[in-house]
């Protein structure tokens, strides 16, 4: 299973790279879709159906909205030629990314495989959460009862983003 997931993650990386490089915005959007749908398969293989459902519907809707917007506006990406400062910035970014990757690979060596060791907090969710919350679906029990305050925050984040979109897309700012 590790091998399958590695291959899918490889596809995701290829899709993301193509999405950056494509000159046509429509193919770039569809490459983003590749990333999202591969993630759905990863979630299913890792036995997380709740996440997979949310990911697949969100990805579909995002794709539809993005395609509608791209078809209505321009399909060509405006292209800037890099000047010397741009090259310096790009090299710095690549360098920092590689450094992050290196330190990441060094620091995960001492960690155990996630999910295979004794859990400190989630142990008490798994044992008897059904009786405590009354919910047959454990994920809903955790999301809306043990950590309901976080979920309220996430719902508010979505509303904040919508209000922000409506604010920024006004035509006239001042009277």
């Amino acid at each position: 299973m590790d091998l399958t997931i590695s291959i899918i993650v490889g596809f995701m990386i290829l899709g993301a790279l193509y999405a950056i490089h494509a000159r046509d915005l429509l193919s770039s959007v569809i490459a983003c879709g590749l990333v999202g749908y591969s993630l759905v398969i990863c979630f299913l293989l890792l036995k997380a159906p709740d996440l997979a459902i949310v990911q697949i519907v969100v990805d579909t809707i995002t794709l539809i909205i993005m395609v509608a917007v791209v078809l209505d506006s321009s399909r060509e990406e405006s292209y800037f030629k890099l000047d010397s400062q741009g090259y310096i910035s790009a090299i710095t970014a690549v360098f920092l990314g590689l450094m992050l990757l290196y330190f990441y690979s060094v620091s995960i060596q001492s960690l155990d495989v996630l999910g295979k060791s004794s859990l400190r907090m989630a142990k008490h969710y798994i044992e008897g959460a059904t009786q405590k919350t009354g919910s047959a679906n454990l994920v809903t029990g955790v999301v809306f009862d043990f950590r309901g305050y976080d979920t309220m925050g996430e719902a508010v984040v979505l509303v904040t983003a919508v209000l922000g979109v409506l604010t920024i897309l006004r035509i006239k700012g001042k009277k």
């Binding site: 159906p49 709740d50 459902i53 949310v54 519907v57 969100v58 579909t60 809707i61 539809i64 909205i65 509608a68 917007v69 209505d72 506006s73 059904t130 009786q131 919350t133 009354g134 919910s135 047959a136 679906n137 994920v139 809903t140 029990g141 999301v143 809306f144 009862d145 309901g148 305050y149 979920t151 309220m152 719902a155 508010v156 979505l158 509303v159 983003a161 919508v162 979109v165 409506l166 897309l169 006004r170 035509i171």
Partner: protein, 145 residues
Amino acid sequence: MKGMTIIVKKTTQLIAGMIFMYGIYVIVHGHLTPGGGFAGGVVIAGSFILVTLSNGGDFMKLLKEESGTTIVESLATILVIVIAVSGFLFGTKIFFNNFLPKGIVGHLVSAGVLPLYNIFVGTEVAASIFIIFLSLIIFKEESKG
């Protein structure tokens, strides 16, 4: 934006209702099966988006719907907060307490307030996603005209 051909319109009329019902199913059974408010809300928003895309929106009518959707969204979020706060007033008087009786595990009406949270979060998510879609269309048309 213009609508699409009559074939697309007819097919959408047949399908959109079913997608809507499926979204409601996902939301209502959130505490029993995988899924829940967030996933079901996006499915409902998908059915609205499908109708709008295939029939094409008259711009003035959409403007009215935009304000209606904002109100629905704000109302749903405020109801989530009201349920959270009502934990103060009933039961053990604690913020975010699950104060309703739990019922029998596995029944449709069980798990206290969790189905209510699912329903309101679902409404809010559906309104939010639809409003983003509408605003991207409306403001574009407004800038043209």
